[in-house]
């Protein structure tokens, strides 16, 4: 029997072609040259939306090691400069590398002291070129990034993945979130970006993250939220979403309740 549970769920290939399982027999543990082609600690969904004051993104705080919920306090949202925020899915070590890289960039720009500040589109462009360059070397940074920002009254929300594919949209969702949360976000946000209040935006993101927690294996109900407005970046402390499981009592026909 195949003891590697990662091989049981064939759907993971379909839903997330970049996923992998470190317990898989074929995994390149020990062959460090291949490590960046085989992600280890993985983050899951990041959601982002535009609302009237700026943009808001949300992510849970789980770093999965294969099917194991290994790191339960992994922050996947990171501020870059004063008006940009980065949300990351995929390999967490590659994310940390990216954080260092962007920090160095911002420091270098700061010391130039020319009164120019990198705004969100600049950072997004830089990041997407780095990711495209790494994919062209066949040594990708195994991440999907959501870049949110607010500069001079302009909202910005962009997506870039390990292949260098980019798009900007008023809603963005990565991983399984693209299947579960994207339709809900489209209904709730598209066409209403200018009138959506902060309270509504929070409510929408909480709902989506809760639905994802119910249905996706590699999530927690412990999430972080970030908003970028005219006042700058504000990243919340991790907080738990209330969940409701009592309906399970009434379900009959499988599991332990077969009658």
């Amino acid at each position: 029997m195949d003891r590697f549970s990662g091989n049981f769920d064939r759907f993971s290939d379909l839903f997330n072609p970049y996923d992998s399982n470190p317990t898989n027999a074929n995994h390149a543990i020990g062959d460090f040259t291949k490590c960046t082609r085989k992600p280890l600690v993985m983050g899951s969904t990041v959601l982002g939306l535009e609302y009237q004051d700026g943009v808001m993104i949300a992510a849970d705080t789980l770093g999965s090691w294969g099917q194991l919920a290994r790191y339960r306090n992994e922050s996947r949202i990171y501020p870059v400069g004063n008006f940009t925020v980065l949300g990351a899915a995929g390999d967490m070590s590659d994310f940390q590398h990216t954080k260092h890289m962007l920090d160095s960039l911002m420091i270098k720009e700061y010391y130039t002291n020319d009164d120019h500040v990198l705004s969100t589109p600049h950072i997004y462009e830089y990041l997407s070129r780095v990711l495209y360059h790494r994919r062209s070397k066949l040594d990708p940074l195994w991440n999907t990034y959501v870049v949110g920002g607010y500069n001079n009254g302009e909202r910005f929300l962009g997506y870039v993945d390990l292949l260098g594919t980019t798009y900007q949209s008023s809603i963005v969702a990565t991983g399984l979130g693209a299947y579960f949360a994207q339709p809900i976000l489209r209904n709730a946000v598209e066409g209403r970006e200018g009138i959506l209040t902060e309270a509504e935006a929070i409510e929408i993101l909480n709902t989506c993250m809760k639905i994802l927690f119910y249905r996706e294996c590699k999530t927690l109900n412990r999430i972080q939220r970030a908003k970028v407005t005219a006042d700058g970046v504000e990243i919340s402390e991790p907080y738990a979403l209330p969940t409701e499981w009592s309906f399970g009592e009434g379900i009959r026909g499988f599991g332990t309740q077969t009658q």
């Binding site: 379909l14 072609p17 495209y132 066949l138 594919t165 798009y167 949209s169």
Partner: protein, 235 residues
Amino acid sequence: MDSFLPVQVSWTPQTAASGSDFYPYTNNAGTVAGISGGDFCVMAADTRQSFGVGYLINTRYQPKMFKLSNGSVLGTSGFYADGLTLIKRINQRLEWYKHAHDKEMSTPALAQLLSITLYSKRFFPYYARVLLGGLDLEGHGVVYGYDSIGSYEPCLARATGSGGSLIQPFLDNQIYRKTPLGILQAPHTLDQVKAVMRDSFTSATERDIQTGDYLELFIITAQGVDVEKYDLRKD
């Protein structure tokens, strides 16, 4: 000219086949078409960006056709990141040309440049189906069709991308007026060409899941480039 060469990568089909699960391409698809007329050229593309294998729509509006600095228009479909990179490289080369020669590059020269740029990545190609539209040296409309490694030809009407095989025979029928007796090209006006384009894309959108949402028309005349946007089906 070393700086014009692409980044060297240690890629061969053998290294790609052994060990690595990473596949450096995806297909964000979409359709691009172009029709040239006597003193104009109409380029058209849809604006949907798909996720590739996942039956997902990334976004309904991400333009994949761009006006270049010399007044011609370059449309791409296939792998969006490659298409975008190609356009950045072409734009850069246009700028260098302008500074070196103090004039804009002509569309036929650009067509050749585009071909060798694609061919420079012959063994790690840009997975982009591109179409170049503009006016030639005499001011006549021209459309250049390419494959992803740089073969190209000028043509009257050309469609490429995911809906290309659906649109191309229709363009043959409406623009080339192909008959058993040969090609009887009917003279066509700008309005007729625009109508044919819109019909082509509404038809392709019916049957091709990766085409849809919005249609962008770039109308190139001696006066410049006009952009028009129309609705397509969004399902």
